[in-house]
Every structure is written in C-alpha cells, then in structure tokens.
C-alpha cells in the first residue's frame, strides 16, 4: 500500500489522503504451491480447485471456521417426510455475480451438471435417487436409503447459474477440452474473478452484491502459484506476498525469528499410515521369503507397528508438530472412536518376540513403497521407518517415486507395504471405512483405495448400517466396533496426523481451517 505525501502541500491534507486510501484499498497477495487447474467447480475433485473456488462459488451448506456445517445457499433443511432424503429451503434474494437471481432451477441444473459422467465430483451423488424442484426456493434430494450425513457430504457441491452456463455453452463440465466455465465464473460467493493467467496469476475482487455480511476488508486478492518452497518463503520474507500456504516445517523458526511475520500452525485432517498387501500370496520384493506372505499374519503386522517410534519421527523430522494417530481419522473428526484411542507403543523387544512367534525369529526382507512428493516429509518418514524396521529384523527395501507413478503401482498391487495419507472428504469416520476398510468392490464402488485388499465380513456388514443410522449413539457403537476390529487385526498402521503450517505477515488476520482451505472472506489486512 503506497501513500503519496506531497511535501509542499499542507500536512493535514496529505494525512487525509493517506487515511482515505488505506481505508479503502486493501490488496492481499497470496501464494500456494499449486495452481487450481480449472475454474469449473464440477470438473476436478481436488483440494486446490475446491479450496480456491469456495471463494467464488457456494454450496447449499458451507463449513464454518471450526469446520461445522452451517446454512449457506440453503437457509435451512429437514428430512423428507414419508421417504428418505432431505428438503432444502433456499435463501431468498441471493444474486449471482452477473446480477441474475438464484433459484431452485440453478440447484437442479448444478446437480445435473455435477452428477453427469463428465463431472469428477459425481461420486458425491451416488446415494441420490431423485431430485425434485418443489418451488422457486425449495428443492428435495431423495436418497436411496436413509442418509443422515448427506447435507454434510455436499458442502463442496457448488452452485452455478443455469442461464449463464447454458448461454455460454458450458452446460457440462469441461473434461477433455476447455469451455467457457474453465476460465470464467458466475457464482454467488463473496469474490469474483477479475483476471486469470493459468499458472501465473489469478486476480479476485469482492462481489458487491453478496448476500452475507462481508467479514473481510479486501478490495482485491491476487493469487500466484509458487512451486518451489524456498522461493515461496523468500517471496514472503521479501514482502512481495502477504501470505503463503504451506511453508516447510524446518523453516518455521526462520519465519518466527523475523519481525513482522507469523506462523499459523494446526493439525490437518490427513492421517498418514502404512498399508499391507493383505491378500498377496507371497512377497514381491523379498530376498529370503519367496513362498509366503508374512504380512498375512496379524502378529507380523503388529510387530511392524511396535517397531515404529513415532515420538522420534515427531521430534526429529517434524520438530514436535505432529499428533500420533491411533485410527484413520484425527480426534476432532466426527465418528472418532474415543474408546480406541491408544496406538501400539514403540516396543522393539515386543516386535522381535512377535516375529519369533510368527516363525520369523531373524526377520525377513520386503519391499516398502513410498511417494516422495505427496505428503510432508513422506520420503524422510519412510527412510526413518525403514531404519526402525531394520532394528527389529524387518529389512525394508525402500523404493520411492513421484505420485504420478505411485498410484498406478499401488493399483497394480506392486508392493509389500506402502505409505498412504487419507483425509476424510466428508469429515466423518465413515469416509475412510468406505474407501480404505471395506473389501474392494468395484460394482458397489466401495474399498476403492483399499489397495492391499483388507477384508473383514463384519466391517463390510457394518458400513451400510453406519451410513443409514440416524441415532448418533448407536452409530458410534458400530464405528467403535469397526475401529476395534481393524486395530486388533492391524489392518493399517496409523502413524500420525499431518501438520498444517501457513505463514503470513503480521498485519494479515486470517483463519486456518483444518481442511487446508483458505477462505478470503475471513481475511482482514490491517
């Protein structure tokens, strides 16, 4: 913010100019490692896109600063009577950024667009049987079975204007080739797009006709992707940007030691874990065990869990910023099993005993696969873990690679043990049960990230019951049972919850939400 002082004019006048300028023009320049790939809210289901577009588009419901669900374009909602599903009563008087009115037709249109085969977000609508417009400001979502969590699960389902999309030939999400909605927007959200140069710079400005009271004081927000974390940090420290997400852990002290900057630390909802090739007949990468799969034995899996010293990983690699994990979600997620909150302790002697009991007194060698560009310190954690495994006789042949060929390897069952991080998209324990613990079932679209093929009939039986249970206490009991079962069978070794570290100039007030979304509507520049 520049303030021109005219030395020849009266002091009073120049002071007045300064004040009026600083009160009216606040620009926030911020950076992150990845550019949102598209401005189309239904084309790509990835965190950078959803996070960015939540500033421009809005859903029927939205998440507050503490992640709780609150009314947004729907002023209220209630279960349907006589059938399964939800009725959403839409907010009156909401305008899109081009001035057109928001109605139930726009919701209907957005639903059709987002559940289309060309949309990447269509899995959100798998439980939906039918959608009916009741009147201009009422819409019913009928579900195939009782679905108490449906409103929570569509917080990122963003509504765009039917008339605008159809007029600009963007009625379907751009999957193969771009369309108008790839580079242009028309949402109801607090900010609108001023200009976009993909991969270089994207400029946003407040939406003057926004229905809600603006909690920010910005007049402009400029986003720049900076891929290299050292460059990003330099840009912050040199004052060229006001805020960056994330910064590397080891640089926290550097930022804190400088005047005028602050670090925001929190826990992300992503739990990092090791997975096993449960259903493999034999090890793929072993030099000494070629005819069996020791990891099929829960004692061996438990031994592996006892071999890991999460406290040391925390102290050295994460400088005390991680929270050890006992299950596949962190404690503040709904459905977290309080009853099963302890994890296997670090106990190398017990690990050796268990290995001996299982028939491997001298241990064995196996292949450990890890990504090296996906999670914070992913490669370092795997190296440290391999060294800890080696101490009890589990000789890990570590192989790391970029995520672009890591997922294909996991899908092709090319591992003995692997590292995975999971963030529950619905912020509920049901999410990891559905994707990671239920048996692989492509027809029902269940267990799609259960690469190792963990399978337990009782877990499979409990999942639909958990999804449909309305009574929170009963639901929690069933979840507790799933967590207890998978813990005792060591389906996975949950390690820790990944930290969330942002840095900003001291004069920027903002809210760090646990899903790593950066919402401009809570930013004030002083």
């Amino acid at each position: 913010m520049t303030c021109n002082t005219f030395r020849n004019s009266t002091l009073l006048a120049s002071a007045a100019i300064c004040l009026s300028v600083s009160a009216s023009a606040e620009t926030l320049r911020w950076a992150s490692t990845t550019d949102p790939q598209t401005m189309d809210p239904h084309a790509v289901n990835s965190a950078p896109v959803l996070s960015f577009l939540n500033n421009i588009y809005e859903g029927l419901v939205r998440r507050g600063q503490d992640m709780s669900i609150e009314p947004s374009l729907a002023a209220s909602w209630e279960p349907l009577e006589g059938e399964d599903g939800w009725r959403f009563n839409l907010r009156q008087g909401v305008k899109f950024q081009d001035g057109s009115d928001f109605t139930a037709e726009d919701v209907m249109f957005s639903y059709q667009r987002a559940s289309n085969e060309a949309a990447d977000v269509r899995s959100w609508f798998a439980p939906v049987a039918d959608v009916r417009v009741v009147d201009d400001h009422t819409i019913d979502f009928v579900t195939k079975a009782p679905n108490p969590l449906f409103p929570d699960s569509i917080a990122n389902f963003m509504i765009l204007d039917k008339g605008w999309a159809e007029a600009n030939d963007a009625a379907l999400p751009a999957r193969d080739a771009e369309n108008y909605a790839t580079m242009n927007v028309n949402g109801t959200g607090a900010f609108t797009l001023v200009s976009r140069d993909p991969g270089v710079k994207t400029v946003l400005a407040p939406h003057a006709g926004w229905w809600d009271e603006a909690g920010h004081n910005l007049t402009e927000a400029v986003f720049t992707p900076i891929g290299n974390s050292a460059t990003g940090l330099a840009a912050l420290l040199s004052g060229e940007i006001d805020f960056i997400q994330p910064i590397p852990l080891q640089d926290v002290a550097q930022v804190e030691s400088r005047d005028g900057f602050k670090v925001l630390e929190g826990e992300e909802t992503r739990v990092i874990m090791f997975g096993f090739g449960h259903e493999h007949e034999k090890l793929l990468y072993s030099s000494d065990v070629s005819d069996a799969n020791p990891f099929a034995d829960p004692r061996v899996r438990l031994a592996a869990a006892h071999a890991i010293d999460v406290a040391s990983i925390d102290r050295v690699l994460f400088r005390g910023k991680i929270e050890p994990a006992s299950q596949l979600v962190p404690a503040d997620i709904s459905g977290y099993s309080e009853a099963n909150s302890s994890r296997p302790d670090y106990n190398p002697d017990r690990a050796k005993e268990l290995l001996a009991e299982a028939g491997y007194p001298d241990g064995f060698s196996f292949g450990l696969k890890c990504p090296n560009d996906r999670y914070i310190n992913d490669e370092a954690v795997c190296r440290a873990a391999a060294s800890m495994f080696a101490a009890v006789g589990l000789k890990a042949e570590l192989s790391t690679g970029p995520v672009r060929d890591y997922w294909p390897q996991l899908r092709e069952d090319d591992f003995d043990m692997y590292l995975l991080g999971w963030s529950p998209g619905t912020f509920d324990m049901e999410h990891p049960i559905r994707f990671l613990m239920h048996s692989q079932d492509n027809d029902k679209k269940l267990g799609s990230w259960n690469f190792g093929g963990y399978s337990n009939a009782r877990v499979d039986e409990l999942l639909p019951m958990i999804q449909q249970e309305i009574d929170p206490a009963k639901r929690q009991m069933m979840i507790d049972e799933v967590v207890k079962t998978t813990q005792s069978e060591v389906a996975y070794i949950p390690l820790y919850t990944q930290p969330l570290i942002w840095a900003a100039k001291d004069n920027v007030d903002l809210t760090q939400r646990a899903d790593n979304f950066f919402m401009l509507r809570w930013v004030t520049v002083n």
């Binding site: 080891q250 690699l317 292949g367 190296r383 060294s387």
Partner: protein, 301 residues
C-alpha cells in the same frame, strides 16, 4: 625419448605450480576416500540399520550440542555426515567418470568420423546430434528411466538406477564432444600433413586417431574437464528436479538436494558441508584438467 621428455617436462611444470599440487592433493584424497569409503567411514549410510533417528540433526563437533562420534554432525536421518560424504563422493565419481568416458568415446569417435568422411555420414551423425540436443538432459533421463522401467523387471530397476542415470548423463554430454571434434577435424582436414597422410594411403582409422586426434586434443580436453564437472552437477540437478538417485543411496548431489531443505532452518551443515566438498572436488578436477592441457599442448604455455 619424446615421451620421456614430455613426462619429465610435466613433472617440472607440476613441481612449479602450487595450484596444481593443491588440486592434485584434494583430488587424490577424495579419490582415496571414495575408493576406500567402506573401510574408512564409521557407518554405511546405505545400510538402514546402521544409524538411528535418535542421532538426527546433530551439529558438527565444534558447535554446542554435538556428539564427538559425529565429526561433521548428522543429517535429519541421523546419518553421519562424514560417512555420507565419503560414500556420496564415491557414487558421484563413479557416475561422473563413467558418464564422461562413455560420452568421450562416443562423441569423439562419431565426431572424428563425421569430420573425416563428411557427406552423408556426417549429415546422419549431425542429425542424430540435433535430436539429442533437442532433448534436454532431464528428458533424456526421463526417457532412459522410462525405457528401463518398461524393459527391466521391477526388482532390478532400483539397483540399476545408477546405470540408468549414468547413461542418461552420458547421452546428454556426447554431442559437445562430437560437434567440437567434427569442427576441429574439418579444420585439420585442410592441413597439408593430413592430406599427405591420406595421399600416402594410410588407413582412415590411423589418420583419424594418430594424426588428427592429437591435434584436436586441446579443445577436447577443455570439454572433458568441464564435462566431468557438469556430469557431477547434472546428477545433482536431475535429483533436484526429482529424477535422480533415491535419497537412501545419496550421491554428493543428492546430499545437496536434501540439504537444500535445511538452508534456512539453522542446520547449515547438512547443506554447506557437502556443497563445499563438491565445489572443492570439482574445482580441483578443473584445475588439473587445465594443467594437463598445458602439458599435452606445449604451444599454449
């Protein structure tokens, strides 16, 4: 007699060049350290069982909080820096030297032949060189890596990463040799002594390697020294871009790449000690290269 003279002359020059002596000393010590790393180093940084996270991020001995067991401190995995550097230098030198040798043999051979025969052969070699040049080193590395992944069985890929990387670096360096050798050969071809040799009916191989090659060594030696250094640096750069060696078998370049994360965090030794070591090594190699050029090419003195 001539050879003897040259050698004794070289010795005389060497004794009178403090820079060359120092460089030779540094290079020799590095080579010895690298060659005997398994016997000198206190731990094997490739053996995951030999170090522990408990010892992570310890500073060098002259700083507070150090453990005398680790002379130059430890990295984030608890690996002894001295051992890492010795093993890293070993790997870097193996990769750099092999890549340089492959590139020299390939490039000089093709360049000489292209300059000698000219015509269609020259055109074909130069077009292959163009294709190679059009593929930046990072792409060559990706390509070789990709082919290896497609052809080799999974458990061999990890072991062959070094060979794959060496080949990729060699392939991105040979063109320099080929084009320089070709250009210089063209010039030499006009000279009487070459024409005389051809007229006398000497075999092309003999003309190329006995007559032409010694006379174009000057520029080639410059490129060789610079390229041994670039091979080592290229390896570091490739791993910075994410297609180098895995972090569990670090070369000097990989150590620097890992150290980059700690540039601002206070653990300066993880970055700067391997970097200083690399710079000292590469500078020594370059000084020795310059010196050798002077010896082989007395006219430049």
């Amino acid at each position: 007699m001539k050879e003897f003279l040259k050698r004794s002359e070289g010795v005389w020059l060497f004794i009178h060049s403090p820079a060359a002596i120092l460089a030779a000393l540094v290079a020799l010590l590095t080579f010895i350290g690298a060659a005997f790393a398994p016997w000198i180093a206190s731990v094997n940084p490739y053996d995951l069982g030999s170090f522990s996270l408990f010892d992570g991020l310890l500073p060098p001995v002259w700083q507070e909080g150090a453990n005398p067991k680790f002379l130059l401190g430890t990295d984030d995995q608890g690996r002894d820096m001295v051992s890492s550097i010795l093993y890293g230098a070993r790997l870097s030198l193996i990769i750099g030297l092999s890549a340089m040798v492959i590139a020299t043999v390939l490039g000089v051979g093709l360049g000489l032949a292209a300059g000698y025969y000219g015509g269609r052969f020259d055109a074909v070699v130069m077009r292959i060189a163009d294709i190679q040049l059009a593929l930046p080193a990072i792409l060559t590395a990706l390509l070789i890596d990709g082919i290896a992944r497609g052809v080799l069985p999974a458990d061999m890929q990890q072991d062959l990463r070094i060979a794959v990387l060496t080949l990729a670096i060699a392939l991105s360096l040979w063109v320099n040799f080929a084009r320089t050798a070709r250009a210089s050969t063209f010039v030499q071809m006009q000279k009487e002594y070459v024409q005389a040799a051809i007229i006398m009916g000497q075999r092309p191989i003999r003309v190329m390697f006995v007559h032409i090659l010694p006379n174009i060594l000057g520029p080639l030696l410059v490129i060789m020294t610079v390229d041994l250094a670039s091979a080592i640096l290229l390896e570091a750069t490739l791993s910075f871009l994410g297609i180098g060696l895995p972090a569990d078998s670090p070369s000097l370049g990989t150590l620097i790449r890992i150290g980059m994360q700690f540039m601002l965090s206070g653990e300066w030794w993880i970055l700067w000690i391997p970097t200083l070591f690399l710079v000292a090594l590469v500078v020594s190699i370059n000084i020795l290269g310059d010196f050798l050029r002077d010896v082989f090419n007395p006219r430049l003195r």
